[in-house]
């Protein structure tokens, strides 16, 4: 025994050195991806379903051998929708060498913009604001990668135009949560009202947004709106559905922005039959029938586990998948340029700006991100509550790009 021990060590050292040399020969380099999340704070209902989507997608990518042979390490940190924990998390990502960070939450996007730009780490903010961040020359390291509120406003007006068969002389009501995010699209919609010749009236719902009986009554019975555009968050979308129902306003004449458009909102409003007709806007595909989702279910099956319950909330779960997938795609583009895996935030930024025709089987809109356009076209889909599920009404579209572009230009010129 005593004699064999040194030999054992010798063998171990030999194996270890060969393994190390093999490892360095293939040069698999871990890619660190930061993912801020909120599973406990103000937007908890979104985070609990969206972040697992991102987690599962990255796990799937790693299970299939990683991106160009490199594994991804996704670090999720919960910030309770508060700025100081988000700043701390951001610095931790920086320390860990993150090359791209998912920035969850409007106040957090604002708080981290300057740091991201200085440290040259791209941050993605789908659905979390900064309409002006579309301009990649002004904010080189902020990537909205999904329709901003400006694009959503334009798309909503366009949808109303198609539904009503022209907008001339029509009455549009815009009901919104009274905070900066809620007011963000107003200038765009106002411009469109002048251009298209419709009457616009805005109805503010003060925080916390659970009391809007008066506004809805006003819209339905005094203003007699022909169409309603709703931009509400948290609990308020479900309240709005209930109130419209109560005053007898047809829900098919309502279209909601992306944060009032999940299964949970419909269920909280009294179920699918109560919300029949309600239109919702989406920046990711809805439903369960996408190849990548099947692969995730397959992955769970192989592990002998049931598919996660979060997948049932397809709106948010799919958004999480899309969010992670676009980031992974940017990393893939960066790795194609630098196959050794030693990529930086700058490489990933360039990787984002090469994304085109990446659709993941219809789940992701056909984004085209360029150095000037970090939004990728501002594409949305409209779905409608019909027979117990979301039924697709339109394919991916964007509208009034000239008007939105004018506002982006004006915002960049101002600063």
């Amino acid at each position: 025994m005593r004699r064999s021990f040194p030999r054992l060590i010798g063998a171990a050292v030999a194996v270890w050195t060969t393994l190390a040399s093999v490892a360095s020969a293939t040069a698999s380099h871990e890619i660190v991806m930061g993912f801020l999340c909120d599973r406990t704070g103000a937007t908890q209902t979104v985070g609990v379903n969206m972040c697992p989507g991102a987690q599962d997608y990255v796990r799937l990518v790693n299970a299939k051998g990683g991106v160009e042979g490199h594994k991804i390490r996704l670090i999720e940190i919960d910030h309770e929708y508060k700025v100081p924990p988000a700043v701390e998390a951001y610095e931790r990502y920086k320390k860990e060498g993150a090359v791209v960070i998912a920035v969850y939450g409007t106040p957090i996007v604002y708080a981290l913009t300057q740091r991201l730009t200085e440290d040259r780490i791209p941050g993605t903010t789908p659905g979390f604001g900064r309409g002006d961040a579309t301009d990649g020359t002004r904010y080189p390291y902020i990537f909205p990668i999904a329709a901003t509120y400006w694009s959503q406003g334009a798309a909503a007006v366009d949808f109303a135009r198609k539904q009503l068969g022209g907008l001339k002389g029509k009455k549009i009501a815009y009901i919104f949560y009274d905070n900066p995010a809620g007011r963000e699209p107003i200038p765009v919609i106002e411009d469109l009202s002048a251009q298209e010749g419709f009457q616009l009236k805005t109805f503010a719902v003060p925080p916390p947004g659970v009391e809007m009986g008066a506004q809805v009554l006003d819209i339905a019975q005094r203003y007699h709106a022909d169409f309603v555009i709703a931009h509400l968050f948290g609990r308020s979308p479900s309240v709005s559905i209930k109130e419209f129902k109560r005053v007898g306003y047809p829900l098919r004449k309502v279209v909601s922005f992306v944060w009032g458009s999940a299964e949970a909102d419909v269920e909280a409003a009294g179920g699918w039959s109560a919300a029949e007709g309600y239109h919702v806007m989406q920046f990711a595909g809805v439903g369960t029938d996408y190849p990548v989702l099947n692969e995730i279910r397959e992955m769970y099956k192989k592990e002998g586990k049931p598919a996660p319950k979060e997948m049932a909330s397809t709106v948010y779960y799919n958004r999480g998948v899309v969010w992670a997938a676009v980031q992974v795609e940017a990393v893939r583009n960066a790795l194609k340029a630098k196959p050794d895996g030693r990529i930086t935030g700058e490489d990933v930024k360039k990787g984002f700006e090469k994304i085109a025709s990446f659709t993941l089987g219809g789940l992701v809109p056909p984004l085209k991100i360029t150095p000037n356009d970090h939004e990728g076209g501002g594409l949305v889909q409209i779905y409608q509550v019909k027979g117990g599920q979301f039924a697709k009404v339109t394919d991916w579209f964007s509208a009034y790009n000239d008007v939105v572009g004018k506002h982006i230009k004006a915002a960049s010129a101002k600063k």
């Binding site: 599973r39 697992p52 700025v83 700043v87 701390e88 320390k95 009274d178 007011r183 996660p308």
Partner: protein, 355 residues
Amino acid sequence: MIHRECGVLKTTYEADMALYPLPIARWTVAALAVLFLLVLPFSVHEYYLSIVNLVAIAVVGALGLNILVGYTGQISIGHGAFMSVGAYTAANFAVRLGAPFWLALPLGGVMAAIIGAIVGIPSLRIKGLYLAIATLAGQLIIEWTINHVTWISGGVQASIEMPRPSFLGLTIASQREMYFFLMFFVVAALVGTLNLMRSRIGRAFIAIRDHDIAAEIIGINIFRYKLLAFAISSFYAGVTGVLYTYYLGIANYEQFQITVSIDYLAMIIIGGLGSVLGSVFGAIFVTLLPIAIRYAMEALGGLVFSQASVLNIIPNLRLILFGALIIFFLVVEPEGLNRLWRNIRNYFRVWPFAY
């Protein structure tokens, strides 16, 4: 600190009234200064400095709130809003008029002091919970105003991008540079509060807290000193808001909502009402504890739960643990961490010869 005060003789009034009358206390302060100004910033990764920076900002705010709540006995749930007043004032001066930070920062503080004194007017007639509700109204009115008056908030998005502060041609951007920038204000706030509380004004505050009618009878002008307490406290809050704005590079409406006011109240209650050291302890506790719990959970959580559920459990358990620890510390010592620290100190002062 653990001081042995025997054998220290003072021969002048100045020596008796010094901020730190004991030599060992002066040595402790000097050692802490060396640690925080020379050793710490050059020995750790910037990540750790970023945490210290967050604590530093919280210390200034907690000190200010403690002047009002702990020393003067007036409650305020409006400090988040006072911070936003400071932040937007400084941001407007810095962006529109190009004011440097040494001008924008005090201006932000002064504006917050003025608004704070106005919000504090009801304190002359009402106390306790009633005053809390009155200041809550202040918080909501200021939030609403900033949210809706684009002349103040710089547009519908209610956010103003702040240029990095620069000093003698040096732009303060990295966490390490920011550390020194913030440390200067932390030291100023600490020394300012310590001295304020030894002065006539501070004594008047304490007298009002202990019994305002008695204070009035011995000749303290309640009207003046209550509003002064609101003004000074709001000045600190305003400066905190400006520091926060410089630190993040943006003044944003959502960074100063009511939860921030509550967080700061939690800091001083946990740390210890009416004590400078308590404010520091509270700021450290509230800022660091969630981070520490998360690290512990990440290291140990995988042993108990599956990896996928850890991600869901960590944040929720962190909230539960955070709440539980607050209750634990307050049950152990209702007067806060500062009192706990003094108990420990008093124990070791006579150790091992306790009597």
